[in-house]
Structure formats: C-alpha cells, structure tokens
Symmetry: C2
Subunit: 343 residues, 2 copies
Amino acid sequence: MARFVDVRTMVRWAADRGVEDIITGMIGYLEEDFRRWESFDKTPRVASHTSFGVIELMPTSTEEEYGFKYVNGHPSNPVRGYQTVTAFGMLADVHNGYPTFLAEMTVLTALRTAATSAMVAKQLARKDSQTLALIGCGTQSEFQALAFRAALGIDSLRIWDTDPAAMEKLVRNLEPLGFTIEITGSAAECVDGADVVTTCTADKANATILTADLIRPGVHLNAIGGDCPGKTELDAEILNLGEVFVEFPPQTRIEGEIQQMPEDFPVTEFWKVLNGTAAGRTSPEQITIFDSVGFAVEDFSALRYVRDAVDGTDFFQEIDLIASPENPKDLFSLVSAAAPLAV
Amino acid sequence: MARFVDVRTMVRWAADRGVEDIITGMIGYLEEDFRRWESFDKTPRVASHTSFGVIELMPTSTEEEYGFKYVNGHPSNPVRGYQTVTAFGMLADVHNGYPTFLAEMTVLTALRTAATSAMVAKQLARKDSQTLALIGCGTQSEFQALAFRAALGIDSLRIWDTDPAAMEKLVRNLEPLGFTIEITGSAAECVDGADVVTTCTADKANATILTADLIRPGVHLNAIGGDCPGKTELDAEILNLGEVFVEFPPQTRIEGEIQQMPEDFPVTEFWKVLNGTAAGRTSPEQITIFDSVGFAVEDFSALRYVRDAVDGTDFFQEIDLIASPENPKDLFSLVSAAAPLAV
C-alpha cells in the first residue's frame, strides 16, 4: 500500500499545524536537499503545450528515492472559475520502483514555493530586513508573507496589485494574523523603503513590473513570477544591478528573468551558497536577486517533508496502487474469475 | 473530484467482466487511437536509470485529453518477491489541466499489451491461424493467450519456458478456460507448426531465443520481450526474413529488436496498415514481424477504455485531488486556521 494525502487532508493538516510551522520544517528539508544538489538526477521537465496551456511532468531522483510532480499552467483558468495551477506528486522507492507516497500538490506547491523563497532570503537578505514588498496579491502572496515572517521575522508588508479585490483579500487573510499591511497605489510606491521585494504576478507576457531606478541598494529581490518562456516581470536592466542567484541554470536560462540576457550572463547557483562554495551577500549595500522558476528538487523536498510529518498521525490514507500476486510471475491469478476476489 | 480505480477494483472489474471481453473492447479503443495517430503529441518517454532498474514517465496528448503512465522496470524484483513492473496512469482534461481519471496500471498494462498484440495480429496474421506458440510463460503469457483467442479464435497453445514451474502455472491457469496446451522441450520445438509466435521473455540481455532457421513461411511473429536498449530476443537474421511492423520508429529503433539493425532498416508503422495507407500481409507465405516495445498511446487508449467502461458501475471511487477555493486567487483561505475545515 502507498500513502496518500488528498486535498481535504492536506488542508486539514495545514490548518492544524499552521502554515508558518510547516514552512519552517520544510525549509530544513529543502536545505538538506540543496546541500546534496549534486547527488540528484536532474532530468529536464517534460512539457505538453496546447493552445489552452501547458501540462508538465517534473521528475527527479537520488540513488534512494524518486519523485515527480504533475502540474498544469492554464492562465485563462481563473476567469472560468478554475485554479491556474493544479498539481499532484509522488515518491517511489528506487530499489524496487514501487510508489510509496502520493499527495495533492496544489496547496503543497504554494507552501514549497514560499519555503524556497524564504530559504534563499535567509541566506541573501540583510539580517536587519523588516519590510516585505509584495507585488502581486494572488494565490502565492499570503504564503510568501508567512514564509518571510517564519524565516526572517518580517511582519510589515507593503502590497500592490492591479486588482483592488486581490489586495483586499490579502488584508482580510493576513491582518487577523498580526501583520501590519500598507496598501499602496503603484509598484513604485510599494517597493519604496522595502528591504525585501517579492514579485509574483500572473500575466503571461514580457511585462515590466519594476524598472531599475526603483531598486534601492541593499534590497533582496525575490522574483518568482517570471517562470516560463515569454513570461518575465523585471526590466532587464535590473539584472545588471546586483548578483543573480538561480536554482538550476539550464532551466532558468529558458524560463526565468535571465531569458532576457545573453547565454553567458553570469549567475550563481544557490546550492553553492548554502554549501559555502560560492559567496552570498557580500555587503549591506549589495542588491541580491533570486531568479526563481521552481525546480523538481523542491517538490521532492516538499513531498518528503509531508510524508515524514504526517507519519504517526491520521493525516493520510492508504491506497491500493501496487498489484501483489503471491507469485510475481502469476499476475493473471489476480484477475482469473476463479480466483478469490480479495487481494 | 477525479475518478480512481485501485488494484483491488481493477481486479474485481476484470474478474467480473472477463479478460477476453475487456480485451475485445480495448482493441476498439486502440484501433480508434491508432487511426488518429498523427493527432497525438508523441513526447519521448522520460527515463531515470539507476543500478536497480529504471523508472519512466510516458506522456502523450491530443488537443482534448492528456495522459501519462508511471512505470518501473526492475529485472531483479521477482527474486526479491516484487513485481518486475508496476505502473499507474492518469488522464487529464487539456482545456483546464485538471486530472480526471487515475488508475493502477500493473494489471491494466498486462491487458493493454495483450490487446495491442491482438490488434496487430488481427491485421497481420493469416486468417486461418490456429496455433499460438508462447515462448516465455511469465506475467504476460496468459493475457496473450486470451487476447489471441478473443481476436483470432486461437485456442491451441504450444508453450516453452526455461522455468518448468512457469509452464505449469500457465497450464493451471488456462486449461480450465478451455485451451489445448502442449508443453514443449525447447524454443525450436515450441514454434514448430505454430501460425503465430509470441516471444515474451524477461532476460535483460541481447538473447537469441529464436534463430532464422526456425521461422517457417506464413508465420506472424509477435516479438514483445525486446523492449529496452540492450534487451533483444531475436537473432538479427530473422528481421531480414519478412516485413517488420513497429509502433513509433524513433522509439523502436532504440528499444526494439531493430536496435540490432542499421539506422535506416526499413520498417512499416502499424497505424498506416490500419489506415490503409501501408500494406499489411501481402501473401500467405509472407513472414510478418511485429517488433513491439509498448507506446504511450496504448496506455492512453487503455485508460480511456477503463474510464468509459466503469462509468455507471461501482468499479471506481472518487478522490479529492483538485483544490477548489471559491475564489481561484484565494487558495490561502483553504488553509487558514480560521477557515472551516471542510472544503
């Protein structure tokens, strides 16, 4: 039997444990996996594009454990009442290839994206950071806020979205949780005075959410909305203002903000910062930029974390995914009408 | 909610409906999909190899529907009491990317492989074929026998396996179902007088199960065990005796029997035979060879068939795989501790 966490159970678990507590735990698993980055089989994601959107499979593996995520991206979904992104994922035992754990990953991806942002900011943002600017108040925004509070103690937010209802939703969700929130009137006003800036907008185009003149010295810029070919958020000039950190260069050069830059544009792989083999922030004035696109290893860490965290609780069910005839060569015995029906 | 057929339910359904009836229905879906072969997005499979075996994702898509299969291949599994191959698969709606149907595919792959063999033999074997030689009496063997009886009316079997217990198992499973079965003492003896020959052995090596002198005029050879790089069953000389038919040439040239042949070795794509744009068997004396490796479209057909066949029955359950917040931008509302716990 494999274990399975469905949407209802993931939601119940997250509400019970608390998002900040989960993100804190998940950062530990992410750091563990980023530190052993070189031991992962980093297959490129497999995308199936149609006129409606994209469906992707994101596999990765160590010598012990295999994982993949199914995820779609359909920008036109919200106007039709659907989620832009839905996902589920799986872990398997590399030794015998048997699936061990399945989980919904729509909620889990929101948690892991925020946890990844916070893991990176823990290394790159100024230690005295107090204010987070959130540009884009969609699905990811509240998770970002909670992740930065959990990891860096930031509880002061400046927010901006072209949709006032999205900003009101964020205030409604986060003010009861103790955040100080300032609604601003533009992206320029939003980033003014912020120590950390998260851009997370959904427009599938080469947008210019921020221009170089708005980025002050010492800022850590967490750019997560530019995450597929043709979808960027930053004026290219911003990428020349500081050091750019990425997850996996071959993927980021196609999907990230740096798709706007030459092939040999210099970047630092974040796992090296964590390992101490590359420099992170080198001065309080430096501008650091995390060009985040989301990578399979992060989903792997998130799945591992949930699997371990729900062990010993009732936050999972068992599902019957692996046929087990008594004699491995006699699969037919299971479906023979003469066979007992229980397996 | 997505529908889910677990192992227990797949087995119950197969026993209730009967394997031959299922295979007959599945052949119809396979033929429908092979006829529209050109409308499929035929992504190559994504394999993760380790010293223990391989784990693969096999996606394919039309403009309406997306499907993929997770499948492992671990040759050393049976000696440790595990199945060599386990699998599960999924269908999704291309319009919004939402998963619609999940199923175990260990049993289902056995059914679809046999159904594919039978679909091809219906076109290529002599109409007066009466005897099937089965070389290799493992997991797939009983399904092969039932598929050939369902599609061609063949009920006389000659069998061979290096493991006597495997042959006894086949007799035990199939004799009660009305087959006439002759246990033979070698591959040479097994194919003697057979009209159709299925080779389905598990040895992961370049084996020579059959040599060219054993292949009589008029035989249809269904070669399914040679299905990954370095794993073949036939003496290369056999491939020069007749016409070779394949599923998807770019994959078969890497994985099939023709991996032994030059890059430009001539083959016929089976879907063209079905469409009438390529010749099938051209004379009673011709030797026809199906170099089968298994392709994602076949899994897609099998999943579609099961989904439709169990509709209106109790042979599925519903699972909660897609987060559906009332406001698509407000995923956080689901996990807020203040939110009602039911979703």
